[in-house]
């Protein structure tokens, strides 16, 4: 799902850098409220996932994990995606230097959409109360699906800006990536199900501050606890 150098017009590349630069500036402050090991772990997973290759329909696809990145990191997913993409380009040759902005925008926005789908908000802001949303497994599947679908749609839209020559290729790419959409959906549900048992605080969108101890207790039923928590915030 990386766009390579030499395909997109200069205007699209500029828009990509502008959008991703703006989103990076808006989401960087959230790194102050997230645990560094957490962001490193998710960035590493995002970085390495691109090596899990799926041969399909004459090309080579790979997972993106934008859904899970958004679910666990919230707003901090965007900087994590940017770091992962830079390293994927440097180390594996995925994407390109000129398309870094477009690729960051397509995948980063997908991660933010996944965070919205899972939490119903964008975790990472100040004075937030951590909580696991209702039906987390179903929401995990939804986050995996919507995050990847959003990234794919933006990927196709970026290719469409290249003109008539890449129109058919853009649609073909979307079709070819359909298995990735399915796998990311299943992966979203299964990983969220696992984390719910093993480390539920990772699903709470907890703005954990370094040196301030563990996040507050989690609440499975957000609706039941929403009123007193929101008045406290």
């Amino acid at each position: 799902m990386h766009i390579l150098d030499g395909h997109l017009p200069v205007l699209s590349l500029g828009v990509g850098f502008a959008v991703s630069g703006g989103l990076l500036a808006a989401t960087l402050p959230s790194l102050d409220r997230v645990s560094p090991p957490r962001v490193a772990t998710v960035s590493s997973a995002f970085f390495v996932a691109s090596l899990l290759r799926l041969p399909f329909a004459g090309t080579s696809l790979h997972l993106s994990l934008v859904g899970l990145t958004g679910v666990v990191l919230g707003r901090a997913a965007f900087p994590a995606v940017v770091v992962g993409l830079v390293l994927q380009w440097l180390m594996f040759g995925h994407g390109g230097l000129t398309t870094l902005g477009v690729n960051a925008a397509t995948m980063g926005i997908g991660a933010l959409v996944a965070a919205l789908a899972f939490h119903g908000r964008l975790p990472g802001g100040p004075r937030e109360t951590p909580r696991v949303p209702r039906h987390p497994v179903a929401r995990g599947a939804l986050a995996g699906f919507l995050g990847t679908a959003c990234s794919l749609s933006l990927y196709a839209a970026a290719l469409l800006t290249a003109g008539e020559g890449l129109r058919s290729v853009a649609w073909a790419c979307v079709v070819v990536h359909a298995p990735v959409l399915v796998i990311e959906t299943v992966l979203g549900a299964s990983v969220v199900g696992f984390l719910l048992r093993a480390r539920p605080e990772l699903l709470a969108g907890a703005p954990r501050r370094f040196g301030q101890g563990d996040p507050p207790p989690l609440q499975e039923d957000a609706a039941a606890a929403a009123a007193p928590q929101e008045s406290g915030a």
Binding site: S44, F47, V48, R53, P55, A57, S60, F92, L159, A172
Partner: protein, 163 residues
Amino acid sequence: MSAGGCVVRGALVLAVLVGGARPAWAHRLQLELFREEGGRLRCELFFSDGATPEGAELVLLRLEGDVERELARAESDAEGVACFTVPAPGRYRVEARDASLHRASRELEVAPDEASSSTAAVSSEPPAARSERGERPWGGVLGGLLVIALLAGGLRLWQARRR
């Protein structure tokens, strides 16, 4: 320089040392050209992790000064192979593109006495490319993970200094 800045710069230097000096182009489409009996040109497409793209589009171009003239098109088979017939001595380029827009190209020069020569590999590629076939980019993986770990350390230092 702040401690966080030192960590970030150290991470970048280590990235260059560990992985950047010889990037593992795991997902790069690569193209090898071989001339076979009767002047036939065999084109082999592959990703450096060993996968082969089926249905990739290959174009044979004749290069005449600044002018490029398309001579033929072909699609790769399941083995990532397509063949052309090179009709005459001259300079040629083969361009390939798969369904996900991965691209590769190679140039070759056919001398007058080679136009119908026997089997010979075209040496128009970096020598490392063939040996990379089937390799996993472990150096790149380790380098990337190291950079992420160092960036996380820098983030932790930055958070601590802000409080």
